[in-house]
C-alpha cells in the first residue's frame, strides 16, 4: 500500500485544492451539539477532532430523497423527463473506518442483475478519505464485525491516522482512486519514514484499545437460522416504537420507497429511505400485514442484517457503528440484542 505523510495545514490545502477544482467536498461540520457530513466551502468548516457524524455518509451515494424521473401529462399523453444521472465529483473527508465500510457492503445489493446507476455513477465519482478513530463509546462494536477503528482498507480510498505529534497524518492509499488523489496534489504529500510507520502502528493500537464492546457473533447467524420464532424477540424488542431513527442513520440500511408527488399536469417520482421497522413497510393494500406487531418488525432488522444478507450477498449488513443504539429513542441497543442471541446460542437454547 502506498503510504505518505500529510500535515494538518496541507490537509487544509488539499480540501481547498479540491474545492477550487470544483469538487463537491464534504467533511464533518459541527451543527449544534452534533456533527454532520456537509459540503464545505472552506477547510475551516471541517471538524476532524470529533467522534462520529450523527448521520452516516451513505447519503452521498444514496440520498434520503432522490427524484428518479419526472413527467408532464396531458389528457392522453405523458412525457417522461429523465433525470441527469451524471453526478459531480465528490470527496468525503473524515469518515470513520466503519462508515467507509458501508458502501462496499451495499455494492452487491445494488448490482445484482440490475445495476442501480444512481448508486454506481455516484460511487465512481466519489472518493472517501477516512480517519483513525480518536473516540469510541460503548455502543461501538466494529471490531466484532471484522472491522477496526484504525483499519485503512475497509473501503476508503485514503486513510489518515493522526500521529503522536498531533500535527501530521500518516496516509495510506488502499485504492487506485486514493493514489490518484495523492498524485493530483503531489506537493502536499510527503514521504513517510519507517518511524512514521511505527508511529502509525502504535496510534492504531491505541485506537483499537478504545473499543470496549466485544461481541462473539460466531454462532449468531446459525442461531438466527433456526430461531425465527423464539421468546427472545418479544422480550428484547417489545419496547421498539417503530420509528425510522435506526435505519435512517445506519450506513448499511438500503430500504427505500417510491413516492409520486404530482399535480394533474405532471409530477416527480422520488426514491425515499424507508425502514422495515415502520409499521406500514409490509402493510398490504388489503390490510393484511405479515409483520403485524412491532417485535416482528425488529426481528426483520436483525435477521436481515445478521443472516439473510450474509446468505445472499456474503457480508454482514452492519458495520458496528452503534448509531442505531445511540439514537434509538427507547435505547434498543443492537449490541445487547446480539449479546443475548450469542448467549442463547452458546447455551444451546
Amino acid at each position: 500500500m502506498e503510504t505518505k505523510i500529510i500535515n494538518k495545514q496541507d490537509l487544509a490545502k488539499l480540501i481547498d485544492g479540491l474545492i477550487s477544482a470544483g469538487a463537491r467536498t464534504v467533511a464533518p461540520v459541527k451543527v449544534g451539539q452534533m456533527h454532520l457530513f456537509q459540503e464545505v466551502r472552506s477547510p475551516a468548516e471541517a471538524v476532524f477532532d470529533y467522534f462520529l457524524a450523527r448521520r452516516s455518509p451513505k447519503e452521498f451515494l444514496f440520498p434520503q430523497t432522490e427524484p428518479i424521473f419526472s413527467y408532464t401529462r396531458q389528457k392522453d399523453s405523458v412525457k417522461i423527463h429523465p433525470v441527469d444521472m451524471a453526478f459531480p465529483r465528490t470527496v468525503v473527508f473524515g469518515l470513520r473506518p466503519c462508515d467507509a465500510a458501508g458502501p462496499g457492503i451495499l455494492d452487491a445489493l445494488f448490482a445484482w442483475d440490475y445495476e442501480d446507476k444512481f448508486w454506481f455513477n455516484r460511487r465512481e465519482q466519489t472518493a472517501f478519505v477516512s480517519m483513525t478513530c480518536a473516540q469510541a463509546d460503548h455502543a461501538c462494536f466494529c471490531s466484532s464485525v471484522g472491522l477496526s477503528p484504525d483499519a485503512a482498507d475497509t473501503g476508503a480510498d485514503l486513510h489518515l491516522t493522526l500521529l503522536d505529534d498531533g500535527q501530521r497524518y500518516f496516509v495510506e492509499a488502499p485504492t487506485g482512486k486514493g493514489k490518484k488523489l495523492v498524485s493530483e496534489f503531489p506537493s502536499l504529500f510527503k514521504p513517510a519514514t519507517d518511524s512514521d510507520a511505527a508511529a502509525r502502528g502504535s496510534a492504531g493500537e491505541k485506537a483499537k484499545g478504545l473499543i470496549t464492546r466485544k461481541l462473539d457473533l460466531s454462532n449468531v447467524k446459525q442461531w438466527l437460522g433456526s430461531h425465527f420464532t423464539d421468546e427472545l424477540w418479544e422480550r428484547l424488542s417489545a419496547k421498539c416504537i417503530g420509528c425510522g431513527a435506526c435505519a435512517f442513520e445506519c450506513p448499511t440500511c438500503h430500504c427505500f420507497d417510491f413516492q409520486d408527488e404530482a399535480t394533474p399536469e405532471g409530477g416527480v417520482r422520488c426514491k425515499n429511505w424507508d425502514s422495515c421497522c415502520i409499521d406500514n413497510f409490509t402493510l398490504h393494500a388489503s390490510g393484511h400485514n405479515p409483520r403485524n406487531i412491532q417485535h416482528k418488525r425488529y426481528r426483520q432488522r436483525i435477521m436481515h442484517k445478521f443472516k439473510y444478507y450474509i446468505d445472499k450477498f456474503g457480508k454482514t449488513l452492519c458495520t458496528g457503528c452503534g448509531r442505531c443504539s445511540r439514537q434509538c429513542p427507547v435505547t434498543l441497543d443492537i449490541a445487547e440484542v446480539l449479546e443475548n442471541i450469542a448467549a442463547k446460542a452458546a447455551s444451546g437454547s
Binding site: 434520503q64 419496547k239 416504537i241 420509528c243 435512517f248 429513542p329 427507547v330 435505547t331 441497543d333
Partner: protein, 303 residues
C-alpha cells in the same frame, strides 16, 4: 444506600407484589442498559421480572406511550401498572382526558422526581443531575410530585415556582424576529429533518391508528424529505398537538436531528393557556379547547 436505590427497591417490591397477587398483568418500568448514561423501558410479567427495575435520573423516556399505541398487545391487557414521573402522569391524565385509556384499569406508580438528565447532560445515575445537566423540561417542572397516582414512591416535595420569563426566553426571542428571520431559523432546522417520525412515534398523544402522513387518498403531506415535505410535516405535527401537548419533551429528545421541536410545542402551549386558560395534563375533566364549540365563539375567520 442512595435515595435512588431506595426508590428502585420500593418499585421492585411494589411491582413484584402487584404481579404476585395478580392485581396487574404487567408492570411497565425502567431497567438498566449497558450503554452508560441511559436506562431502557422494561416490562415485567412475572414477579421475578421486577427485580430488574430501577429508577434514577437516567429514566428519561416517557412510558405512557406503552399504554396505548406503542404496544397494542400490552394495552390490550386489562390491568397495567406503570412507573410514572410527574410529567409522565400528565400524559396519563391527557390520555384519560381524551378517552384513550380507562384510568381505573391502570395502577399508576407515581415517583417523586427531582429531575432527569438532559440529552447532552452528564449524570452517573446515582445522584441527581447538576442544574446545568438537567433536562430543559425539569428546570420548569411544577409536578415533581405527581398530581395523580395510586401509589407514591419517594418523599413528597414542593416544586419551586419558576420564572415564565426564563422558560419562554427563546420563544420570546424568536417571536421578535422578522418573519423572514424566523423563516430562516426554522428552515435551517427543518432542512435536517430525516422524516424518521421518531417525534411522533414517541409521543404518547400522537396515537392515531393511521397518521396523516400515511394517508394517501388524498395525500396531505409530501412524504419526501425536502423543504416542502419537511415543513408540512413539522408544522402539522405540532398543530395536531396544539392544546394537547403536555410538554414532556419526548419528541425533541428523540429527534435524531436535534430539531428544537419544543419551541413549537411550547409556543402552542402558551397560546392555549392564554386563549383558553387550558393546560393539558392537569385535569382529566376540563374540556379540550380545540374540541369544544360555543355559540359565542369567534367565527369571523370562517368565510
Amino acid at each position: 444506600m442512595s435515595e435512588y436505590d431506595n426508590i428502585s427497591n420500593e418499585i421492585r417490591e411494589l411491582a413484584a407484589k402487584l404481579l404476585a397477587r395478580g392485581e396487574v398483568d404487567v408492570v411497565i418500568g425502567y431497567k438498566p442498559t449497558a450503554l452508560p448514561g441511559r436506562t431502557q423501558p422494561a416490562f415485567a410479567y412475572k414477579p421475578e421480572d421486577a427485580r430488574e427495575f430501577v429508577f434514577n435520573p437516567l429514566c428519561v423516556s416517557g412510558l405512557p406511550l406503552y399504554l396505548t399505541k406503542a404496544k397494542p398487545e400490552i394495552s390490550a391487557k386489562d390491568r397495567i401498572a406503570i412507573v410514572a414521573k410527574g410529567c409522565d402522569v400528565k400524559n396519563i391524565v391527557a390520555l384519560q382526558r381524551e378517552n384513550q385509556i380507562r384510568r381505573e384499569k391502570i395502577k399508576v406508580i407515581g415517583v417523586v422526581c427531582k429531575g432527569v438528565v438532559g440529552k447532552y447532560g452528564r449524570c452517573d445515575g446515582k445522584t441527581e443531575p447538576k442544574p446545568e445537566d438537567l433536562d430543559e423540561k425539569c428546570r420548569y417542572c411544577d409536578v415533581n410530585t405527581p398530581r395523580d397516582y395510586d401509589y407514591l414512591i419517594g418523599e413528597k416535595i414542593e416544586s419551586s415556582p419558576q420564572s415564565k420569563e426564563k422558560e419562554f426566553e427563546e420563544i420570546n426571542r424568536i417571536e421578535k424576529l422578522s418573519p423572514r428571520e424566523r423563516w430562516k431559523f426554522w428552515e435551517e432546522h427543518f432542512k435536517r429533518c430525516i422524516k424518521c417520525y421518531a417525534c411522533s412515534k414517541v409521543c404518547p398523544l400522537c396515537y392515531c391508528n393511521r397518521c396523516i402522513v400515511d394517508k394517501t387518498m388524498p395525500r396531505w403531506i409530501d412524504p419526501s424529505s425536502h423543504a416542502r415535505g419537511n415543513l408540512a410535516w413539522n408544522i402539522i405535527r405540532a398543530q395536531h398537538l396544539a392544546g394537547r401537548c403536555t410538554g414532556c419533551g419526548e419528541c425533541e429528545r428523540s429527534c435524531p436531528m436535534d430539531i428544537p421541536l419544543m419551541l413549537l410545542n411550547k409556543k402552542l402551549e402558551r397560546e392555549s393557556e392564554e386563549l383558553f386558560g387550558y393546560r393539558s395534563g392537569y385535569n382529566p375533566h376540563d374540556p379540550i379547547p380545540l374540541a369544544v364549540f360555543r355559540e359565542e365563539d369567534d367565527d369571523e375567520f370562517v368565510r
